[in-house]
C-alpha cells in the first residue's frame, strides 16, 4: 500500500515536474543543432510561473466549456501518469487500462480543446479544432494497429504485461516487425503532440497552425495549464514509446533502489528520444497541411506491415 502510494507520487512528480524540462531540453537541443545558444532547458518553468501570476482575459462569447478545458486537459494527463509504466512495469493504475485507454484519455483532451477552440467563436479556433481532430482521427488507426502488432508479440496488451514480456526477451525488441511498429508509433507521436513536420509549436502563423490556433484565446493561468498539459503529453508519449518498445531495464518489483534505477534508465531513454526528435525537427520543414494525411497514411502502412509480417511469416 505504502509502496503503491510512493510509486504514484513518484510517477506524478516525474510527469508533472519533469515534463516542462523535457520540452525545454528539446528546445535547447534544437537551438544547439542549428547553431544557436537557445534558452536554458529550465525556461518553460519560468514561462509557467509567469503565466500563473497573470490575469485571465476571457471572451464574453465563451461558455463553461472554455473554462473547464484546461483543468480537464491537465487532469487527463495526470491520470495517464498513473497508468503509464515509467519507473516500474506495473504502476498503481496499471491494471486499470492499457494503451487504448491512454489514447482515449488523450482524446478527451483533444475533444475538449477543439470544443474550446470553437467556443470563442473565432475563425482561428474553429480552424485549429477542425485540423486537430482531423489529425487525431487519422492517427488513430496507426495507434491501434501498432498496438495490435505489439499484442501479437507480447500476448497481452496490458502495458505492464508488454513491458515484462518484452523486458524478459530483450532481443524481441529488435525484430523488424517491432521496429516497424515503433516507427509508426513515433510518427503518430509527432502528429499527436504537434511537432514538426505536422505542426510547429514555435510559431503562430495563422494559416498553418493547428494546436496554437485552438489555444489562441487562453491567457494567464489557463494558458499555463494548457501548455503544461501539452508538455506532459509529449513526456508521456515519449516515455510510452521508450518503455513499451524498448522495455530494457524497467524494474518489475517496487523498491527504492529499483525506482531510482528505473528513473535513471527512463531519463536516458528520454534523452535519446529527445535528441532524435530534435534532429528530426531541425532537418525537416513543416509539411503542407494537406500532405499531413499522407504522412499518417505512411505510418499506417508501416503499422500494417508490422502486423502482416507477423502472420504472413508465421
Amino acid at each position: 500500500m505504502i509502496a503503491d502510494i510512493l510509486i504514484a507520487v513518484v510517477q506524478l512528480a516525474l510527469v508533472g515536474l519533469g515534463a516542462p524540462l523535457l520540452t525545454g531540453i528539446v528546445r535547447t537541443l534544437k537551438a544547439r543543432l542549428v547553431g544557436r545558444r537557445g534558452p536554458s532547458p529550465w525556461q518553460p518553468y519560468a514561462d509557467l510561473r509567469k503565466l500563473l501570476g497573470k490575469d485571465r482575459v476571457v471572451s464574453t462569447t465563451t461558455s463553461w466549456i472554455f473554462a473547464v478545458t484546461p483543468v480537464v486537459l491537465a487532469a487527463t494527463m495526470l491520470a495517464s501518469a498513473l497508468i503509464v509504466p515509467l519507473v516500474i512495469s506495473r504502476p498503481v493504475l496499471g491494471f486499470a487500462g492499457n494503451v487504448i485507454v491512454l489514447m482515449y484519455l488523450f482524446l478527451i483532451g483533444t475533444f475538449f480543446l477543439a470544443l474550446a477552440g470553437l467556443d470563442a467563436g473565432s475563425a482561428f479556433g474553429g480552424m485549429g479544432g477542425s485540423r486537430e481532430v482531423a489529425v487525431a482521427a487519422l492517427a488513430e488507426p496507426t495507434i491501434i494497429v501498432a498496438v495490435f502488432a505489439l499484442a501479437m508479440r507480447a500476448g497481452t496488451i496490458n502495458l505492464g504485461g508488454v513491458v515484462e514480456r518484452l523486458g524478459a526477451n530483450p532481443q524481441m525488441a529488435l525484430t523488424p516487425g517491432h521496429l516497424l511498429a515503433f516507427a509508426a508509433f513515433f510518427i503518430v507521436m509527432i502528429a499527436e503532440t504537434g511537432r514538426l513536420p505536422v505542426d510547429n509549436p514555435a510559431t503562430h502563423l495563422e494559416l498553418t497552425m493547428i494546436h496554437e490556433a485552438m489555444v489562441l484565446e487562453y491567457s494567464g493561468p489557463d494558458l499555463a495549464l494548457v501548455d503544461w498539459a501539452a508538455s506532459m503529453k509529449l513526456f508521456l508519449f515519449m516515455a510510452l514509446l521508450a518503455n513499451l518498445f524498448f522495455p530494457w531495464g524497467v524494474p518489475t518489483e517496487p523498491g527504492l533502489a529499483a525506482l531510482a534505477r528505473g528513473g535513471i534508465v527512463l531519463a536516458g531513454k528520454l534523452l535519446a528520444l529527445a535528441t532524435i526528435l530534435a534532429v528530426i525537427e531541425t532537418q525537416i520543414a513543416k509539411l503542407r497541411l494537406f500532405r499531413v494525411p499522407e504522412l499518417l497514411a505512411g505510418s499506417f502502412a508501416l503499422a500494417l506491415l508490422s502486423v502482416t509480417s507477423r502472420f504472413l511469416l508465421r
Binding site: 500563473l52 490575469d55 485571465r56 482575459v57 476571457v58 471572451s59 464574453t60 462569447t61 461558455s63 463553461w64 483543468v71 491537465a74 487532469a75 487527463t76 495526470l78 491520470a79 491494471f95 486499470a96 487504448i100 485507454v101 482515449y104 484519455l105 482524446l107 477543439a114 470544443l115 470553437l118 467556443d119 470563442a120 467563436g121 473565432s122 475563425a123 482561428f124 479556433g125 474553429g126 480552424m127 479544432g129 477542425s130 485540423r131 481532430v133 482531423a134 482521427a137 487519422l138 488513430e140 488507426p141 496507426t142 491501434i144 495490435f148 497481452t156 496488451i157 496490458n158 504485461g161 503562430h204 484565446e217 494567464g220 493561468p221 494537406f290 500494417l304 502482416t308 502472420f311 504472413l312
Partner: protein, 636 residues
C-alpha cells in the same frame, strides 16, 4: 389523450424492460396460439437473447415516451402509431415462428413508416417515407423468401425446428438461407449500401421517434443477424462471419464519413447510427468467426461486445436524438450552420448532449468507450485463428474500428461545437430555450445511464456475457474479472472504469486545488474574443459546420467527390465590387450515383417499354389474345 398514450407507452416500456431483464436472468416463457393464424399461428418465446433485446426496447422507450409526454401539448399526431411501434418492437424478439416474426417485423416497420410520414408531411419527409417503405419492403421480401425456404426445407416454420434441423441441411442451402435473411436484416440495420433509407427517414420522424428508430429499431436488425448467424441456422461457416465483419467495417467508416460532412443535425445522428451499427457488426462478425474456428470463449466475447455496444448505442443515441429534438423544437431548424450559442440558452440540453457526444466519441469513463474497447479486445486476439485470410479480415476490422473511433470524435466535436458553442448564427437560435420538464428528465436519465453503463461495466458486461454464453451454448460463464476490473481472456487485457473515473476526478480536483494553492485564480477580465486582434466579431466569422468538415472533404475526396458551386453577383458598375457571394460545396453520394440512380433509371425505362403494350388499340389487344392462344397451344 395524447398524454395518456405516452404514459401508457412509458408503462409498456417499463413492463417490457422488466420482462426482458428477467429473461436475461434465465426466466423462460413460451406462449403459443396456433388457432389464430395459419403456418403455426402465433408463437412467442422468451429466452436470454430475446430478454436482452426486450430490455433494450424497454430501456430506450421509457425516456423516449417521457420526451413525447413533454411535447404532448404541441405534437399530437402519430401517437397511436407510436404506441403500436413500441409494442411491435417488443414483439419482434419474442417471435418464435416465421409468421409471428414477419407480422411483428412488418407492424414495426409500418408503424415507423406512419410516424415518418407524419413527421412533417413536407415533401422531403414524404420522399423519405417512400424510400424507407420501399427499402423495408425489399428487406421483407428477402426475409420472407429466406424464412419460407427454411420452412420448406425443414418442414416447419418454428424457429426451434430450424435450430434442430439446420445442421442436417446442405451447406449451400444454409448459405442461401443465410444470405437472404442476412440481407433482409441488414436493410433494417442500415448496413452500407442498403442504408439509403436511414439518413432520410430518421431525421424526418419526430425526434422521440427518431430516437427509438436509431436507438432500438436498427438494433432489431442486428438482433436478426445474431439469430440467423448463430442460432437459427446453427453454427455457420467462417465466411458468414467475415461477411458480417467486413460489412460492419464498411458501414462504420462510410457512416461516420457521411456524418462528418452533413449539416443537418439529425442526419448527422442518423449517419452515426449507421456507423455504430457497423461497430456492432464488427463485434458480431468477430464472434461468428471465432465460433466457426472453434474458439467459443472468444466468440462469446465478440458477441458480448456487440450486444453491449448495442445497449450503449441505445443509451447515447436516444439521448442525442432527444437533445437534437429539443434543439429542433426550440429553433425550428436542423441546419447546424443556422445554430450556435445554444449552450447559454439551453444549458440543460447542452450538458446532456455533451455527455451523449462524449459517450458516442468513446471518451472514458463513459459507456461508449467500454464497448469499443471490448470489441477491440475481441478483434486483437485473432492470431489464435491460424488462417492468414481471416487474420487479414480482422486487421481490416481493427483499422476500420480505429479510424471510425477517431472520426467519431471529430464528428461530435463538430456536432456539439457548431450547434451549441459560440454565438447564434441566426435569429431562431437566439430565442431558444430548454424543453419541458419531462423531456429534461428523459435526457438526464439517459445521460446518467451513459455514465452508469460505463463506470458500472463490470456489473453489466458479465450479465450480457451470460446471454452470449447461453446463445452459443458454452457451458461455463466467461470469466470477466471482478467487480472493479474487467479482465479479458485472463491476462490479455484489463480495464477498470471505476479506477479511471476516480483518477480523472481526483486529478481534476488536484489541479483545481493546485491552482488555488499557486494563487493562480487571479482576476478574470471579460472581453470580446481576441482572435489575433481582429476587430468586431460577428457570427459570420465563426467557423461553420461546412468549414469544419473541409479537411475531411480534402482527405477523403475520393469518397465525397465534392463539387463546388460559386455564385458571385458583382455590382453592375464594376465587377470589382462584389455584392453577394454564394458558395456551396456539396458532396455526392457514391451509392446514389452508382447504385440506386442507375437502378431506378433501369426500372423506369423497363416500365416505359412495357407500358407501350397498352396502346389503346382494340385490334392490338385482340391480337394479344390470338397470339397468347397460339403460343399456349404450341408450347403446352
Amino acid at each position: 389523450m395524447t398524454a395518456v398514450v405516452y404514459t401508457l407507452a412509458a408503462i409498456v416500456g417499463l413492463i417490457v424492460g422488466a420482462v426482458g431483464v428477467s429473461g436475461m436472468l434465465g426466466v423462460g416463457l413460451a406462449w403459443r396460439c396456433p388457432a389464430l393464424l395459419p403456418l403455426g399461428g402465433l408463437s412467442l418465446v422468451l429466452d436470454p437473447l430475446a430478454g436482452f433485446f426486450l430490455a433494450l426496447v424497454g430501456f430506450a422507450s421509457v425516456p423516449a415516451s417521457l420526451d413525447g409526454l413533454g411535447r404532448a401539448r404541441s405534437e399530437r399526431r402519430g401517437r397511436l402509431a407510436y404506441l403500436l411501434f413500441v409494442a411491435a418492437m417488443a414483439l419482434v424478439p419474442l417471435a418464435a415462428n416465421a409468421l409471428t416474426f414477419l407480422l411483428a417485423w412488418e407492424l414495426m416497420s409500418l408503424a415507423s413508416y406512419v410516424l415518418v410520414v407524419q413527421g412533417g408531411r413536407a415533401r422531403e419527409s414524404i420522399r423519405a417515407a417512400w424510400v424507407y417503405a420501399v427499402m423495408t419492403h425489399a428487406g421483407l421480401a428477402c426475409l420472407l423468401a429466406g424464412m419460407l425456404l427454411l420452412g420448406a426445407w425443414t418442414g416447419s416454420f418454428d424457429v426451434g425446428a430450424w435450430r434442430a434441423a439446420a445442421s442436417a441441411l446442405a451447406p449451400s442451402a444454409r448459405d442461401l438461407a443465410w444470405t437472404l435473411l442476412a440481407l433482409g436484416f441488414a436493410v433494417k440495420a442500415g448496413v452500407i449500401p442498403l442504408h439509403v433509407w436511414l439518413p432520410l427517414a430518421h431525421p424526418a420522424a419526430p425526434s422521440h421517434v427518431s430516437a427509438l428508430m436509431s436507438g432500438v429499431m436498427i438494433k432489431l436488425g442486428v438482433y436478426g443477424l445474431v439469430r440467423v448467424s448463430l442460432d437459427w441456422l446453427g453454427e455457420g461457416p467462417a465466411w458468414w462471419g467475415a461477411a458480417i465483419l467486413l460489412a460492419g467495417a464498411v458501414s462504420a467508416v462510410v457512416g461516420v464519413l457521411s456524418a462528418i460532412v452533413d449539416r443537418d443535425l439529425k442526419r448527422v445522428l442518423a449517419f452515426s447510427s449507421i456507423e455504430n451499427a457497423g461497430i456492432i457488426l464488427i463485434g458480431l462478425g468477430a464472434g461468428v468467426l471465432y465460433q466457426a474456428a472453434g474458439l467459443p470463449a472468444l466468440a462469446v466475447l465478440g458477441v458480448t461486445a456487440a450486444l453491449y455496444h448495442a445497449l450503449n448505442h441505445a443509451a447515447f443515441k436516444t439521448l442525442l436524438f432527444l437533445g437534437a429534438g429539443a434543439v429542433v423544437h426550440a429553433t425550428g431548424t436542423r441546419d447546424m450552420d443556422a445554430l450556435g450559442g445554444l449552450i447559454k440558452r439551453m444549458p440543460w440540453t447542452a450538458a446532456c448532449f455533451l455527455t451523449g457526444a462524449a459517450a458516442i466519441a468513446a471518451l472514458p469513463p463513459l459507456n461508449g468507450f467500454v464497448s469499443e474497447w471490448l470489441t477491440l479486445q475481441a478483434l486483437l486476439q485473432n492470431l489464435l485463428i491460424e488462417q492468414p485470410a481471416v487474420n487479414l479480415v480482422f486487421a481490416l476490422g481493427i483499422a476500420a474500428l480505429a479510424l471510425t473511433g477517431g472520426l467519431t470524435v471529430a464528428c461530435f466535436v463538430r456536432a456539439f461545437g457548431i450547434t451549441f458553442l459560440a454565438v447564434p448564427r441566426q435569429e431562431a437560435a437566439a430565442r431558444a430555450h430548454d424543453p419541458a420538464t419531462p423531456s429534461r428528465l428523459a435526457m438526464t436519465i439517459l445521460a446518467l445511464s451513459c455514465l452508469a453503463l460505463g463506470v458500472g461495466a463490470t456489473a453489466v458486461v458479465p450479465a450480457i456475457a451470460r446471454v452470449g454464453s447461453h446463445l452459443l451454448g458454452t457451458p461455463t460463464a466467461l470469466p470477466l474479472g471482478d467487480a472493479l476490473t474487467l479482465k479479458v481472456s485472463g491476462e490479455f487485457a484489463s480495464l477498470s472504469m471505476p479506477a479511471v473515473a476516480a483518477a480523472l476526478a481526483l486529478a481534476g480536483l488536484g489541479v483545481l486545488a493546485g491552482l488555488a494553492a499557486a494563487g493562480g485564480r487571479g482576476r478574470v477580465r471579460l472581453y470580446e474574443t481576441w482572435s489575433c486582434g481582429r476587430m468586431l466579431q460577428t457570427p459570420r466569422m465563426e467557423y461553420s459546420a461546412t468549414a469544419f468538415a473541409n479537411p475531411f472533404k480534402r482527405v477523403f475526396d475520393f469518397f465525397y467527390r465534392p463539387v463546388e458551386h460559386i455564385d458571385i453577383a458583382a455590382h453592375p458598375g464594376s465587377r470589382l465590387f462584389v455584392q453577394r457571394i454564394e458558395y456551396a460545396n456539396p458532396t455526392r453520394s457514391l451509392f446514389d450515383d452508382w447504385l440506386y440512380r442507375p437502378l431506378l433509371h433501369t426500372v423506369h425505362r423497363g416500365a416505359r417499354v412495357v407500358q407501350r403494350l397498352q396502346s389503346g388499340s382494340a385490334n392490338l389487344y385482340l391480337a394479344y389474345i390470338l397470339l397468347a392462344l397460339l403460343a399456349l397451344l404450341v408450347f403446352a
